[in-house]
Symmetry: D2
């Protein structure tokens, strides 16, 4: 940690900072420059909050040297994490496709979609039983009934299922029915939820918050890992910017950046990133070219009747086309679907 003092800091002030550094178990390294005095605090700075120094009157700024996360970092574990879920592998050579409706709306519809996406080559099913909706007047999901339908779809197709957890009180239900627990973008910093899934023995898809930096995403992953669960899949799903021609802005660069910083697999959700079905196949191709380990995509047999996210849901024939294009690009970058 580098502590930059204000110009004109007195000897007494310098000493007070040095003492504070030592109190925290770090070593002091003093450097007097022409215009500024700088104090290096050497040791494991993760235990020390920059705020402890920023609050001092003689301090101009504090610059951390180390990253605030550890368990999820590439430095902590150099080789890629490869997760096995049933007979599927996430983070390996195969780019996995997780497909299904936004919400589980009913049994027949869910099974029909499940059959359809399986046929086109999806590796996992998705579907929400608990839905975070911005309006209190919108469909909120079928709850446990939805989970049961998902489980039936899994039995029928053999595809493991991923579904979202919204409330700490539902964790046992999710563990019972789901193969992968999803933490939605709006809950990326719901630290209680992170703590609960951190204690569970289930893979977790952690979606990036709309205004979360890559580092904050990794800190939320660290929350989960720090509780003992290292089976984490990161998901880029678009960030909020000033641009309104897409619902969110897919941060494609986050893929190679995350691959440098962490050993965890990273997938992309082009449906939520764009909000538009006709952009999904292009963004999927781009995501795979950028190194995505998986694609999470909304598919619906009748988007015009979907109770949520219809405009961004692919019809089965468009999904099949997306899979073909995705396969070609995967091949071009040395992977397969």
């Amino acid at each position: 940690m580098i502590i930059v003092l204000k110009p004109g800091a007195t000897e007494r002030e310098i000493e007070s900072v040095e003492n504070r550094v030592k109190e925290m178990g770090l070593k002091v390294h003093l450097s007097k420059g022409v215009e500024r005095t700088i104090i290096g605090a050497i040791g494991d700075e993760r235990k020390v909050d920059a705020a402890f120094f920023e609050v001092m009157d003689c301090v101009e700024k504090v610059m951390p040297i180390l990253k605030p996360y550890k368990l999820v970092s590439r430095e902590f574990k150099a080789e890629d994490t490869v997760l096995r879920v049933g007979d599927k592998v996430i983070g390996g050579e195969e780019v996995v496709v997780i497909a299904g409706p936004c919400s589980v709306e009913g049994r027949d519809m869910m099974l029909e979609i499940a059959d359809s996406v399986k046929k086109s080559g999806a590796a996992f099913l998705r579907g929400g039983a608990f839905k975070p909706r911005t309006s209190p007047y919108s469909f909120q999901g079928l709850g446990e009934e939805g989970l049961k339908i998902l489980a039936e779809a899994r039995e029928r197709t053999g595809l493991p299922v991923a579904t979202e957890l919204m409330d700490t009180r539902d964790i046992d239900l999710l563990i019972k029915y789901a193969d992968i627990i999803q933490i939605g973008a709006r809950n990326m910093q719901n630290f209680r939820l992170l703590t609960e899934v951190g204690k569970a023995d289930k893979p977790v898809i952690l979606k990036r918050g709309l205004s979360a930096t890559v580092h904050e995403l990794l800190m939320s992953a660290e929350y989960i890992a720090s509780q003992g669960n290292a089976k984490i899949i990161l998901c880029e799903r678009g960030i909020r910017t000033f641009e309104t021609s897409t619902r969110n802005t897919l941060d494609i660069s986050a893929l190679p950046v995350l691959k440098q910083l962490t050993h965890l697999p990273v997938i992309v959700d082009p449906s939520h990133a764009s909000g538009k079905a006709d952009l999904v196949h292009v963004l999927s191709a781009a995501a795979i070219a950028a190194g995505a380990d998986g694609i999470m995509v909304e598919v619906h047999t009748k988007p015009e009747e979907a109770l949520s996210d219809g405009p961004q849901s692919l019809r089965p024939e468009l999904f099949a086309e997306m899979m073909r294009k995705a396969g070609a690009v995967a091949g071009a970058v040395g992977r397969r679907i």
Copy 2:
């Protein structure tokens, strides 16, 4: 709701949209322009999701006319909502100041700060017993013990207390000890939490999410109101932008905008907005000039020892100075502190 069709939409397509509008209980109003055909859907469009039309191939875009929230809107209730909490009033002539430490760190410290802010004229106490921290390795709050200390501080000073709810499982505890329940920025779209406080008979401070629009803030307030609890205080606390010289960007314009759109009281948290104690007094003055009904500010007797948010916490003497300046500006805009 205005439905704009793509150029070249056929008669059959136009008819299909018209039928859909009617199915949803709305009336059709057709308008053929030179380059586009437009279909107006007349009636209470709040019940109808724009997505139902966006998903149709012949539709270019859908433009809602009405706002998606109702109970919290100025149209629904023209006069300002004035909330009574104990013998205090929020939303009246007085600009209320809610002050205290970021976290309740211990009994003596909390009581000392409570005495201090009362002396300077604060109307409410604040303090976190459950803390949302970005790092799993940081202090997470004292839990129920912290709530008990807050209650003791209330007995001692007579000031009602506001504290944050992070988990649906803690709602009963909060109701037992707190006078105002706070929903933090990161939980603004934690819809389960909103639903729970919506069922409670307690005033709620709803903080704006870091990347939430003014309309999304109002939708979250609608969630609470739709459950029966209309005692809502909105809180602007800075949004996330590209600017890094402050922690967040205080959206001062949100104050007059919210005053036009809603009847609910609106307060400002300059401590979180800026992240810097030396900006708090200036931003408080600006917020009051812009129409804030209250200021929520972090005060600590020893910021250098604070377990959280030290750099943005005011020392008691700076808080006293802030109160003087705030009082002068309140007077200039026809209010008082």
Copy 3:
């Protein structure tokens, strides 16, 4: 144009809006809903500023139906624009690569880089003679000398050259030496510069501004086209967001969005988007998968001695590798390099 009146608008007010619509040569289409009266203004609304109605007291909001640009829109011209520059084609089956140093720093260096990128398959040379630098104390470019060196590099390699115009006073110089004139991101709304290149008979690369929407980019292209020059190549080069792990955020979705809205070719600059050489090959691959017609990339034989943008410049061997990967992805999407 849809004009939504405030609730309670009087007959007289409605009439005043109707009269205004008629004065502007548009036809009125009145629609009285349950909660709002709406007036449709039918005709070529591009000639009419929404502001003329927004300013009226009884008007709540004005919603344009038509896009404000015409000449550059896909509706105006359905087929893709294909530009010929020398013996090269932009916007055809081939994905063109424009490569070279950020600045022309000297003759030997420029020729060495030109030879190198030609060998790896670049179709165009790039290099700045006039450089927009954020610091007045940084290298500002060689001016006309730089242009002469660029011209020499063209003679030697046969590759046409693209270079940036910063000042209306330099337009004649640029026309004399360059094959393509580049308008930099910071000048995307320098309307005088747009007007000048609009009068020139040279292809123009128009880079998207850091905070420009896709629609604003198209409006700036319309500026150029409205002066008579339709040889425009749009360039996505990253937008400014809250994320700091890359210099800017490459808006990959802008590619398919632009392809829907306009007939103009679209290229991507991954060097400026990321600011990091080690991300360039991945982002190039993603851009091609997303439909880019070209890639503009900074290459330097000695990045560590570059007078500008060293950290984002590829060494020749990395550029060669980038070309191989780009070629594979181009093949996967039915194109070539």
Copy 4:
């Protein structure tokens, strides 16, 4: 400058960085931590580009210690800059109000508005003769004729005039007619324009770009100052964010931040920040409470006929009301209008 090496940097790599630091005339200060080696480069780092080190393979990141601007910094000149223009003072006790139409549309209108704003207490006139318009089909200003009308308005009222420069070719015209030259937000990084006004002997209002940080604003001011012209007035006019309920987001915190970083006067333009006339008086009051040295506001006697920016222009009676409120708040913070 702090240069952080990657973990595992070899002795030879460390030495190569050290040598580079020395070559640039700085002194080396080495610090080996537990996880990282850090090299401090001591001396005037402003002459050295961080990029020279970032480009080295063994370097993880480079962190500047000093600010990149000098002449405009508070460290360079501790006391506030106070500018005299005619018999007016900017940056003193008085908060100056600069008022007038967006564009000069004609002689009679301009004179009428000038009389009106003078009567209400404005200190300066504003009005655009050259207008940056996003559409090529909109009114572009009257050019020199507009400047002549402005000069006539000055003769008549005694109020000095501020007007915008868009093109380096117009600098002599502006110097001839204007008292203050304005650089618009879209030209904040038009470095040629900055260089030209830097050579002029006229005060300059430099507006912050829509996506410019506070530090970039100061770098652009440094451009002007580095050419010899230190008569610079900074203008906060709203930044671009995801929020759409106002045209831009007024960054009120930039006022106290700029006051800490620079000695230059800072004014606010609430008309462009909000885009809505009915927010202007509230935002003006907030800006003054936040420490603004001036307010720049659009006033029009007939906003409904304005050729540009009608919706954000105040009618004279609203301007008079704004002045009263602004005066009250100015008094509360120890200033006057």
